[in-house]
């Protein structure tokens, strides 16, 4: 492992060892794909757009990357956000409803409509309000994050279903299609959006002291408050940012499939996002977080899914493998497990020699 870290240092990238583990796993998976599926690493340029296995992985992971980056900050403050899947469903439904304005839904009577910009802004604002609700509960009222976000997780999907009257809202809108499956400078727009979102958040958090102070809150909330860290605004900020990112992710999903499905959109995304963050070396206990790690974790999950599907295993059974890998990686990250294995290994060697 040290050699990987050293190698990455020599490339001018500083990585702490916690990011190095998932990074190594990602590389291993990619190498596995390279060997076992023939057309994995082929790149093709058609109509000025890049196609290929790696591009697909990145494009499919785009919503998860956005959500995971937000959840990483929340976990860094010692919290958790279970509501991102529901928030994705709400924002997707709002965006699609504003554009399609189907008769059966509440959007039919909305005054300004048709054009894409107000639709998308309203969707993102709604997601931001959802984040604000979480932030208020956790930051100001001091409710346990797990419970506070469980509320919106349960109720949020109901709100999305209510807005769409339980139906799938379909629409045809060239601008939305462009966001979902178009390309810019050779890469899919979804990749650009997710990259911009993550870089934007990473810059806000890491160039200013926000990230550092958030970690201080996650480490010891009382100590941070006593040292003058503005705990409440920062915690609220973390949840609002996560809500906004989930909102963008929800719009990406809707644009990708050209329809808003309030029941399926974003389902299990909250768990995938937490998984991505944990795989990326951020512990659930808070106090430290890595946005780069979360991005790598999200890519790892998507690569794993793609790999399993490429091996001819049906998607439903793929979860079996995914679960096994999750537990294995968690074991590798557990100090207790590692020291136990080392001890057993030493004991065996000393007893045989």
């Amino acid at each position: 492992m040290r050699s990987v870290v050293a190698m990455s240092r020599s490339f001018g990238v500083t990585m702490d060892s916690r990011v190095a583990w998932p990074f190594a796993a990602l590389v291993a998976l990619l190498v596995f794909n390279l060997v076992f599926s023939s057309d994995f690493l082929t790149f093709q340029v058609r109509d000025g757009r890049l196609y290929g296995g790696l591009v697909d992985i990145f494009e499919n992971a785009a919503p998860l990357i956005l959500v995971a980056a937000g959840v990483a900050i929340v976990i860094g403050t010692g919290g958790i956000d279970l509501s991102v899947g529901s928030v994705m469903a709400i924002s997707g439904t709002v965006a699609a409803g504003m554009i399609a304005r189907p008769e059966y839904s509440v959007f039919n009577n909305v005054g300004f409509g048709g054009s894409i910009l107000p639709a998308i802004s309203l969707a993102i604002v709604t997601a931001g309000i959802a984040g604000l609700l979480n932030g208020t509960l956790v930051g100001i009222l001091g409710v346990q994050p797990l419970m506070a976000t469980l509320v919106l997780m349960v109720a949020g999907r109901g709100v999305a279903q209510l807005l769409s009257d339980g139906q799938i809202i379909t629409f045809r809108e060239p601008a939305m299609d462009f966001l979902g499956s178009g390309a810019w400078l050779g890469l899919p727009v979804a990749i650009w959006i997710s990259l911009c979102g993550v870089v934007f958040v990473a810059v806000i958090v890491r160039v200013t002291a926000i990230g550092f102070l958030a970690e201080a809150i996650g480490d010891n909330r009382t100590a941070a408050a006593l040292s003058g860290v503005p705990v409440r605004p920062l915690v609220m900020f973390a949840y609002v940012i996560t809500g906004l990112l989930a909102g963008v992710a929800g719009i990406l999903v809707v644009c990708d499939i050209g329809a808003a499905d309030s029941i399926r959109a974003g389902r299990d995304k909250e768990l995938d996002a937490i998984l991505a963050v944990v795989l990326g070396g951020t512990t659930l206990s808070g106090g430290r977080f890595s946005i780069l790690g979360a991005v790598i974790g999200a890519l790892l999950i998507q690569t794993l899914t793609t790999t399993i599907l490429a091996q001819g295993i049906v998607e439903d059974s793929a979860r079996l493998v995914k679960g096994g890998v999750v537990i294995a990686i968690c074991l590798l990250q557990s100090d207790r497990f590692r020291s136990g294995v080392t001890r057993a290994w030493k004991w065996r060697r000393s007893s045989t020699s």
Partner: protein, 332 residues
Amino acid sequence: MRAIHRVRRAGPLAITAIVCIALYVAAGILEPDFFSMSIVAGFLSNHAVFLIVAVGMTFVILSGGIDLSVGATAACASIALACLIERSSWNPAFAILFVLAGGVLIGGCMGGLIHSCRLPPFIVTLGGMFIARGLAFTISRESVSIHEPMYEQIYDLPASVLRAFGVNDATAERIGFLLPTASVIAIAAFLAALVMLMRTRFGRNVYAIGGSEQSAILMGVPAASTKIAVYAISGGCAALAGVVHTLSLFSGDPSSHVMLELDSIAAVVIGGTLLSGGIGSVVGTLLGVTIFAIIETWITMREGLNSAWTRIIVGTLLLAFILLQRALVRRK
């Protein structure tokens, strides 16, 4: 002083009970059918799976943990049972025992990992959820119906028992209709949990670990075995719920019970159990499940009302109870 303390402890539970009764009366005034016997019995028979899972979840949450795998385990148990009986033509009794043992084993393994490697329960049970759901779909991708005649008999068991005791046919049938085996199993699971938590040393250990694991260990509470047992109970309850699912629907379905784990956590919290562990009761869980059942039944009875309202109302109730708990904890 002690009385005040007791009131505070019982406060959330009393409020849950009041909300439950108020909801029932309100629904009954709007919809007079609500006061009929069959509706009340329907609460239990339609939500037997939910109640059993929530009872298991209460143990885990009281011990300060969480179990996200229960919905998937229930689905996996139901499809495994259906396939064992229909495709491998096992004796149903053996198949049921096998499935229950499987659930206990899965839960116990997760508990072992959580305790011995100090892994967060959230992530381990999330992995367990993926594994159980994947296993369910690997066993069969479609739902499998059960045609075994013995199953009809098990379903009718309460009625046949009553007949054997000389109750006349019509009454036995009526009671059997109101109280199928699924409901009886759910009641039994609830009572067993109640006794375990209130009257046994194991129950007190669960509360002690949930209150503060370190102090519990210092007091000599066997943390390892208690924690493993708690997850094993939850896994066993989930598998039992899968069995009950097949008993009431006569089929196993790998895609069933998708949000069950979160609904049952919500029911436990509405029932006044603190998610941080140590405080709460299984009676509260019963009330929480009943509140769910009342809302769901009322919304299905009102035609034209969007079923999404169930989630919204439950979410709002959850919010109210969380804020209430918060207020009570602060005042202490």
